[in-house]
């Protein structure tokens, strides 16, 4: 059994465990476990990761994001406490604002809905005239001055203060391609790709710089690791050709901009299986996929160049499932990882939905604790 003890000043967190590591060695911290798994080094057990549970957090608290952001610590304690309740190896600040940085360029942001995700409108409407022209310094200043970015930096710092080196502080931001869709509105973005508009690459080049800058700002605030989300690049939405032309080069540029200094994972929703051959060349630590993707095939195709992450169904397992069904599916995935010689971060496939029983997340963690891979 694991317990988190948040001291009164919220600054110190103590991690207790009754169970020793499987090999009788010192129990790894959750963060050590995660980074050892990335390196395909021995771990005391499989890492278990609650992916994007922030809508779940505010739903449990019965508040909206406006209220969370107004808290003195911007919700850091709340997020840390709730993730501890779920038993996750990571804490996940900032994910509520994975798109809200676009407010710095004019997007309207709605944080008023209780228990619901944040809505972000388009920032620009005309590719000819509206793509911002900024130096790197201006870009950094624009982002760092934005309310939502500042709030997330505060939230990340607060979570880092609470968990220290025990757990990995993971922050989600959208990737360059999805960011371009956010700037223009995803529907319009898809339409302009369909029309072969030659200015689309210019927009993605701009958002590559935006996401690079944002990643660096959050890293400086205490993030250990990033989950870059590219749902718009899913196989449900764009062709392999478009992925090759408009996702891969910019993602590689983003990774090059980080100069190997900041660890990154990539999440692609839906039909992401066909992306694996390209993704494994990106230099990411892990590739997070949904439940419809064949994990056995993905683990093999990843060739230990990166870990795979997933892939319990958010709706069928986390929301509607039972601890028993979650355990069963988790064991199945862990068995695949065992055969593969590791390389799996056990996780929900896309998010941990609002309203999901906490017992289901804990069942996933329990399955990982009992694993021997």
């Amino acid at each position: 059994m694991k317990l988190w003890n948040l001291s009164e000043n919220k600054k110190e967190v103590t991690y207790y465990t009754e169970k020793q590591g499987n090999k009788g060695e010192r129990k790894m911290t959750a963060k050590e476990r995660l980074f050892a798994a990335f390196a395909f080094e021995p771990v005391d057990r499989a890492p278990a990761y609650v992916l994007d549970g922030n809508a779940w957090v505010i739903n449990e608290e019965g508040i909206n994001y406006t209220q969370q952001f107004a808290l003195p610590d911007a919700g850091a304690e709340m997020i840390t406490r709730r993730y501890a309740e779920l038993g996750s190896d990571v804490v996940y600040p900032g994910s509520s604002c994975w798109l809200a940085w676009a407010n710095a360029f004019g997007s309207e942001v709605n944080t008023e809905k209780v228990g619901r995700t944040i809505e972000v409108g388009p920032a620009i409407s005309n590719l000819e005239t509206d793509i911002p022209e900024m130096t790197d310094e201006e870009l950094r200043e624009t982002l760092a001055d934005n309310f939502y970015v500042k709030t997330m930096m505060k939230q990340i710092r607060g979570v880092k203060d609470l968990v220290g080196e025990e757990k990995a502080v993971v922050v989600a931001i959208c990737g360059p391609f999805t960011a371009a869709g956010t700037m223009l509105g995803t529907g319009e973005f898809m339409l302009q790709i369909g029309k072969r508009n030659k200015l689309v690459p210019k927009l993605i080049a701009f958002t590559t710089r935006v996401i690079t800058t944002l990643t660096k700002l959050y890293y400086e605030s205490g993030a250990d690791l990033f989950l870059i989300c590219e749902p718009t690049s899913s196989g449900d939405m764009i062709s392999p050709r478009t992925f090759k032309q408009m996702v891969s080069p910019y993602f590689k540029q983003f990774m090059a901009n980080l100069e190997g200094q900041i660890p990154v994972m990539l999440h692609i929703c839906g039909k992401a299986g066909k992306r694996v051959d390209e993704v494994k060349e990106f230099g990411v630590k892990a590739f997070s996929v949904d439940s419809m993707v064949d994990m056995e095939e993905m683990l093999a195709k990843a060739e230990k160049k990166m870990c795979m992450m997933g892939s319990l169904s958010p709706s069928a397992q986390m929301l509607q499932g039972t601890p028993e069904s979650v355990m069963e599916e988790s064991r199945r995935l862990l068995e695949l990882a065992k055969k593969n010689g590791g390389g799996l971060l056990l996780s929900s496939g896309c998010d941990f939905p609002a309203g999901s029983p906490a017992e289901n997340a804990r069942a996933m963690v329990k399955a990982a604790e009992e694993s021997e891979y």
């Binding site: 809505e119 529907g187 898809m190 339409l191 302009q192 369909g194 929301l319 509607q320």
Partner: protein, 215 residues
């Protein structure tokens, strides 16, 4: 160019996403006094249907379908200006009201579903995004719909699909409608759990499902 050739050209313009050719073909048909309803069904809609099939086969993707939908919409608008009682003259399979449910602003997939349903002979009322259960039911009644299509792209909003079905039950009109659900987090088991009549994983399946439900 005779009518048959115009139909072939209209179909090819859609498949090739050749916007200029699509409009030129229509202009020629109008000049020649051709039957625009037949041109729509045998030319443009046939092309759109084929794109839908190619989408199912993962040969065509969302950007192409969205562009095709835009061309199709412009063609339909121009046609309506050039023929009386255009809507009434088309033999429709059934009427669908389609919405992205309340709290959810994702409407790309729903838009593609609507475009393909129209191309396949359904009369479709696209209610838009973030639509309340009460409005969906009210509009289904107003338009005398056969099918209610409900899209949800978030795990936080798929519950509203359930709300719509419960509201239909409360009003005692559940049996009047076939309810189909879809969206990224939605599964066949969720559809069954909430008592929906069907689930589709993408726009192409949606057309097949609607055709089955209406049969």
């Amino acid at each position: 160019m005779n009518f048959e050739e115009l139909c072939i050209q209209a179909k090819e313009a859609m498949i090739d996403l050749d916007e200029d050719l699509a409009y030129e073909t229509l202009d020629t048909a109008i000049e020649n006094g051709e039957n625009l309803t037949l041109l729509l069904t045998q030319g443009y809609s046939a092309g759109m249907q084929e794109l839908g099939d190619l989408f199912a086969e993962e040969e065509v993707f969302l950007p192409d379908l969205m562009y095709a939908s835009e061309i199709m919409e412009t063609v339909s608008e121009r046609m309506e200006k050039n023929m009386e009682n255009a809507a009434a003259s088309i033999d429709e399979k059934g009427t669908v009201v389609f919405a992205t449910v309340e709290g959810d602003v994702h409407d790309i997939g729903k838009g593609i579903c609507c475009a393909l349903l129209k191309a396949n002979g359904f009369k479709v009322y696209d209610l838009g995004k973030d639509v309340s259960a009460a409005t969906i039911v009210e509009k289904a009644e107003e338009y005398n719909a056969n099918i209610i299509g409900l899209s949800a792209l978030l795990t936080t909003t798929m519950m509203v699909q359930n709300d719509v079905i419960r509201l239909l039950e409360e009003k005692g009109i559940r049996e009047k409608y076939k309810v189909m659900v879809g969206g990224a987090p939605v599964t066949a088991s969720w559809a069954k759990q909430i008592g929906a009549d069907g689930y589709s994983g993408d726009a192409s399946e949606c057309v097949k499902l609607a055709s089955t439900l209406i049969a």
